[in-house]
Amino acid sequence: MTDDRKDAAALAAGIETVPELLAHALRIEEDAEERYLALADQMETHHNAAIARLFRWFAGHEAEHAREIRERMAGMALPEIKPWDFHWGDAESPESVDFTAVRYTMDTRAALGLALEAEARALAFFQRIVEVARDPEMRRWAEEFAAEEAEHVRLVRAEIAKLPPDDGQAVERAEDPDPPNEPL
């Protein structure tokens, strides 16, 4: 879905006020949490416990970020925005992992790869706002969000770097007793 969301950063330019920016930032984290929870459920249903745990861990982090944003905006009224009116066009909010990119046999490397793409999209989104914001307060908020996303990108990269070249699950994949797309 990276390609589908290539315009998300460009569309971020349509955000013009601090409350609008905060509504977007909050929705990004809420959507990301919801997506990781859904993906964790999928992996549990399909008996991939390790990746279910990993997605649940990411969900917890996204929930924490959403909580922090709510705390920091203390009392500020946010605009009501319909899902289709957010400034990420037809696509989804930038930090949500693509539903269609997951497979029930996926390994840690693949899951972290998707998380990295998601964090990188969120970073690009806020960087774009930093570039185009005319209101200094809005730029300051966007810089903070971009710095946080940059830190997440760094952390996920560090986790990927820690993985052995093969994560040991390849054998399990090869031995999948019920491959779903086996031509008869």
Partner: protein
């Protein structure tokens, strides 16, 4: 459906405790998301919505919402929904189906639901295959699709659901793509708000039996022209497009079916007398 300003609802408020069993990667996850986001945006309380389906992977969707639901007999979702809407016009009735459920075994109901123009919304998650029964071709499968269960392809001309809907009298016709869940939510919302029978074909890839449908996300594009209110023009456009135009394609203004004709109901005893030998 009326817009309900308060209380504020989230998409997750419309999800049930039941975890979907779809294959990870299935487009239907996105359709569920679009549905719940659309309902949250409208604010309609879950108990004022009925989600009706038939049989298939796609038709499992009512169990995953906490609205009223009915997972009915294969191909009969529209008949169920028509009865429900006539009996309870106050409910928002959404029918969620697949291309097998809706166009094979349910094809006849589809034609007559379009004709009747009852105020319901019909969303078909079209993956051009029978997913649940392991990959048989469906009416919308292209004739050359070569598979283990249809070696060399079916060679049969695909069913054109949008054109058939127009020819049969549907009052609103649109095409959406599951990979654009916010746009799909917007289109379904418009379909629900439009009076009469609204039909939305959602292209929803089956990653398991049609993995090549992953390419749909690069093929779809917004319909290049605004929706028309002329069914003939809409049909011509659809028959000559590349199959990937996304958006509302037709908005009609046919009168919505009203079960109350105004005539006095004939007492049963009078009917019985008229049939007496």
């Amino acid at each position: 459906m009326n817009e309900h300003p308060a209380p504020k609802r989230k998409a997750s408020d419309y999800k049930s405790e039941v975890k979907p069993v779809w294959c990870p990667g299935c487009g239907d996850y996105h359709v569920l998301l679009s549905l719940t986001r659309m309902l949250a945006a409208s604010g309609t309380p879950p108990e004022q919505v009925a989600v009706i389906s038939g049989i298939g992977c796609s038709s499992r969707i009512p169990a995953y919402t906490n609205c009223y639901g009915f997972h009915g007999v294969h191909g009969r979702s529209l008949a169920l929904a028509a009865g429900l809407k006539v009996a309870r016009p106050d409910l928002t009735v959404l029918v969620m189906s697949g291309d097998g459920d809706g166009f094979s075994i349910g094809g006849n109901h589809f034609l007559h639901a379009c004709r009747r123009n009852i105020d319901i919304t019909y969303v078909v998650m079209d993956n051009q295959v029978y997913g649940m029964t392991k990959g048989q071709p469906s009416p919308t499968t292209d004739p050359e699709w070569d598979s283990a269960l249809a070696p060399g392809g079916t060679g049969i001309r695909p069913f054109q659901p949008l054109v058939i809907a127009l020819a049969s009298g549907a009052n609103f016709v649109a095409r959406a793509f599951s990979g654009q869940p916010n746009e799909t939510a917007r289109i379904i919302h418009e379909a629900v708000m439009h009076p009469g029978f609204s039909f939305v074909q959602v292209m929803s890839p089956c990653v398991t039996f049609r993995p090549e449908q992953a390419a749909w996300k690069d093929a779809v594009h917004p319909a290049p022209v605004e929706a028309t209110d002329d069914p003939a023009r809409a049909a011509r456009r659809i028959m000559t497009d590349d199959g990937f135009n996304i958006g509302v394609l037709y908005r009609g203004d046919r009168p919505v079916f009203d079960p109350h004709s105004g005539a006095e109901p004939v007492p049963l005893s009078a009917l019985e007398r008229s049939f007496a030998l």
